[in-house]
Symmetry: C2
Subunit: 193 residues, 2 copies
DNA sequence: GACATCATGGACCGATCGTTCCAAATATGA
DNA sequence: TCATATTTGGAACGATCGGTCCATGATGTC
């Protein structure tokens, strides 16, 4: 026992993320969570206040990481940057151990059952993803890659849809080859000068 | 009380559909369901065996209706038919009372928490949606609207993605105008002869 | 009008839910 | 070394979970 905290903050959040990601908010029990995180109920409630608090922290950590990964992608042109970004989120075998799908999309689907603060975090995460697309598109307009009449907002929603599609369609049986094709087809929305 | 069944089969399924659609499988309690359906636990369990059985029947009814709606769409060309199909599933204000999003996508998201038979129903529903897209695309190839090298499988996944996007993105804040733009952009994957 | 049938309402079951509480154990500061 | 602070494991809480059971009373048949 104790006197000094005996668990690593990041690793317990990762463990909780795995559970919430796999089973969603409602279907994840505190027992499952404590077992996966390797700590007792007392420690969980002392550190995270309650199940809602843990979920909120886990989801915002998830969103933070996704946004960071998205921002890290480079490219010679804005178009190639955006294409590379989509490829970055193709599920690959190395990440097969991870839960399926996108946790933000899952949370968005079960929005009605989420605590209010969790709803806000989920919505904010998707909004930030879309903001990244908007930013890339805005830069593309600025440097002449994209006609200013292209309609950035619509395109941003479109590419957010493609991103969600490639992360979630595998659960419906889509193969890696088919997903890459989905990206190609999605990119055809980018007007050819 | 009774001797003869006192509830209408279709309307109790509709009521259950509203609950499951809104809250998903795990977060829908039998109490919520019986209240919404207006019948007692005894009647529910006698008719549907258990919660799983009710869910399976509700979800397959939902999938059946979606498929029927998709098949009912006509068009002068396969392209216009497909475009009209997507517009058919744009959320409009008249249907605002309905739960948000697509029940099949929701079920697909919480696949891991579904009873096995429910998983199969959800998967089958999405497969049938995709089969409809494939059918339209195959006809388009047959009558020369689409080059045979277009790659029907990839296109079918793409349009399934667009369909899911326009049904689910509203929860992330997309407006009707933006969704119509998403359809236009999605249609740009259809090669121009 | 008596009887068998069967859906209904509601009490009830053990299990599990999220949460609280406390005694035991350790680290820290003097 | 002693007092204090703080985290830990685990017992326990009331509420709710999915599911069962039975007395009740309406129905259809003779």
């Amino acid at each position: 026992m104790s006197g000094k905290r005996q668990f690593d903050e990041t690793s317990v959040i990762n463990a909780a993320m795995d559970v919430f990601w796999r089973h969603g908010y409602a279907a994840s029990s505190v027992d499952q969570l404590t077992t996966a995180m390797g700590l007792s109920r007392s420690s969980l409630y002392k550190r995270f206040r309650d199940k809602d608090g843990l979920f909120r922290e886990v989801l915002s950590t998830y969103a933070e990481r996704v946004v960071r990964r998205m921002r890290a992608i480079q490219g010679d042109t804005r178009r190639s940057q955006l294409e590379a970004l989509l490829h970055e989120f193709l599920p690959n075998d190395a990440k097969a151990a991870r839960p399926k799908g996108c946790m933000l999309a899952r949370s968005c689907a079960e929005m009605a059952d989420l605590p209010l603060e969790g709803q806000a975090v989920a919505l904010e995460g998707l909004t930030r993803q879309r903001a990244i697309f908007r930013e890339i598109l805005r830069e593309a307009v600025a440097n002449g890659e994209l006609p200013s009449a292209a309609g950035i907002d619509g395109l941003a929603w479109h590419f957010l849809g493609v991103l969600q599609a490639i992360m979630n369609l595998p659960q419906a049986g889509a193969s890696g080859r088919e997903l890459r094709r989905v990206i190609d087809l999605g990119m055809s929305a980018w007007p050819l000068k």
